[in-house]
Amino acid sequence: MSFGTLFLAVIAIAAVAFALSRRKVLGLAQGDRRRLHSLPHYHGMHAMLLAAVPALLLLFGWTVLQPVVVDRVAVSHFSGEKYDTSGERSLAMSEVRRVAESIDALVRGGKLGTSELETLSDEDLGRELDDTGIPVLSDLPPQIIDSARIYRSVSATGDLIKLGLVLLLALAGAAYGYSAAHPDLRARNRTEMGVRGLLVAAACVAIFTTFGIVLSLLFNTIEFFRIYPAGEFFFSLTWSPSFGGGSELGIIPLLWGTLYISLIALLVAVPLGLFSAIYLAEYAHPKFRSAAKPLLEVLTGIPTIVYGLFALLIVGPALSSVFGRGGMGWMPSDTAVITAGLVMGIMLIPFVSSLSDDVINAVPQAMRDGSYGLGATKSETVRKVIVPAALPGIVGAILLAASRAIGETMIVVLGAGAAARMSLNPFEAMTTVTAKIVSQLTGDADFASPEALVAFALGMTLFIVTLGLNIVALAIVRRYREQYE
């Protein structure tokens, strides 16, 4: 029975438990739901949770853990010097898995009976596999075929036990839930506990996933630093990966590009965003505001690749026609820091304006009244009272926008060029950390080479930078919130 069917079976058992328990308590209460401690559907839910939750947990856990255990059993059958290192063993293991899958295919295709398989010698089985055209090593070592057989049998046993245990657990839960169903049962409170557990589990999944991502980044980064000196990575001024080896992988030119482009983006986004926020919050008619704000926020919904196209096809050529060879002669090509920076700035406007608008609106009306009451004009009030009062929130908004800018990829890939260069000229092409992560992983480099692994070190650096910015931003925003609550 496959995972999906088993899952549906458990759900079906739970649904039956729901219906039966609900009917049982209603029956016990002679159809008068006022005699029940909890509403009937809570009694049903109680039985349903008891049936479904433990069984599903077991199902998921078993499904995740079984391959690990089976691998371990199969691996224990390898011996000899050939399989000494872990690399050799995992290579052999993947071979075993492939052979096992091929045998499965043969059995499923009806070319091989189960009883036949038992009696077939290793050599014949190897030939049989060759005949099917399934790509297997032609001279399979007997150990592999042996292990494949064991792999298959252990997996089959495991699947069977899983099926039995899961169904048993579901039925046991349903039976217990049904037998416990009684008008006096505090089903509502118990269901509440179940709901709480569900929410905790959801939160845990999110947290553990984040944790897992960070750990995988971390381990690969450590792996990278084992084969490439950290000092050179952090301090070398050259970035010239060559897949033949002997590359120089200094992060500084990339960080420089990232920061330069982000700076230009913020120079565009912060004034425009802030001014439009002030206009919307303080000057605009409420009707205009309620129409304009969503429109501005539509900008956040545009995929960044579309901004990238906009940079590549419109902004780049337009800038080039003014500053390029035809005009000032400063801009060698369409792709440049300024192209990517301008477009990214436009992308960030709604981030700055929407958040700033919210914090400006959160400044109490009493502040405005106080200022107007002293004879201040609107712009004096904005400059001297509202913006200072909202400043922590505005800074938070800007920092959040900055961390977006630093992590942005598609606009840079299309708009900024690919040359890792350190220059002050904003009309030069440069590149960023994110763009280089893309190019390092999309090549056909050996995954264990420093040229590929460097992507993880770059990602880790970027992660730490944006994490730091986010923490600072959130701390500022939080402190601001405390001020008026």
Partner: protein, 273 residues
């Protein structure tokens, strides 16, 4: 000259109603206020004396705060509010097109119900008005104004060692006195107070009331209050508002001891409100 002519005209035309015109700081004539379709103030006439505390009392929603906010055109900041009739400050119509509401509010200061110091230092709070109106030539003059204003608000002794600290860190009563100092610092002629003690404890309230009595020597003070005892304690004149009308206006003593109108009497004795 124009303003003078205007003043003359008004005092001529209303000479019967304006007794002792020279003492009247503020004169309101048939003022109506509308919030959208809601008729919030109905045909109010009132003369407010200089160097006097005038109290507006009345049940919630009777329009006393609304009327107070007409006196410095704070209602201008509310889109749907519309004011009709004449309000004269020193004989000059404050709703005239030539009057700049921003300038007017520097002459008619306001203290609000809830203390609303700016999230700035105590010094900067008080210096706010003088700075935006350019009332000083140099720093030492500004220092003098800040000190004088804080003294007037009876806050100098508590604040002199912490002028650089944030105004929002003070206690509620101190904050309200800071707001009074801030209003006084622009050297207004009239001080409007919209229930200035309703967010304060009894001790802070007593301090503010004492202060209001002192402020009377230099300013024309108009105070809106929910507390009849407070009106009786601090004011010399009292106006009773009910359902948007000004029912009765006169010496505080008379209003509280021998009111002419039935409604005033009912309110004072606690039967309505």
């Amino acid at each position: 000259m124009d303003a003078m002519a205007h003043t003359d005209q008004i005092s001529m035309s209303q000479s019967e109603t304006l007794t002792e015109a020279s003492d009247n700081k503020i004169a309101a004539r048939s003022v109506d206020v509308f919030y959208g379709k809601n008729h919030a103030i109905k045909n109010v006439d009132v003369d407010i004396d200089d160097k006097t505390v005038t109290a507006f009392i009345g049940p919630s929603g009777c329009g006393k705060s609304t009327f107070l906010r007409c006196l410095n055109r704070m209602n201008d900041t509310i889109d749907i509010a519309r004011v009709e009739g004449d309000i004269l400050l020193d004989g000059e119509d404050i709703y005239d097109k030539r009057v700049d509401p921003v300038q007017l509010r520097a002459r008619v200061g306001m203290v609000f119900q809830k203390p609303n110091p700016f999230p700035k230092s105590i010094y900067d709070n008080v210096a706010y008005g003088p700075r935006i109106h350019g009332l000083t030539r140099n720093k030492s003059e500004l220092d003098d104004i800040v000190e004088a204003s804080l003294r007037r608000a009876a806050l100098w002794d508590e604040a002199k060692d912490r002028l650089k600290e944030s105004g929002t860190g003070m206690s509620g009563g101190q904050q309200q006195r800071l707001c009074i100092a801030r209003a006084v610092a622009t050297q207004p002629e009239v001080l409007l107070m919209d229930e200035p003690c309703s967010a304060l404890d009894p001790i802070a309230t007593a301090q503010i009331e004492e202060l209001i009595d002192e402020l009377r020597q230099n300013f024309c003070v108009v105070i809106v209050t929910h507390s009849m005892q407070q009106a009786a304690r601090v004011s010399q004149k009292t106006a009773f508002f009910h359902l948007g009308e000004m029912v009765e206006y006169g010496d505080t003593e008379k209003i509280f001891n021998s009111p002419e109108d039935k409604r005033t009497e009912s309110y004072i004795t606690g039967r309505i409100g």
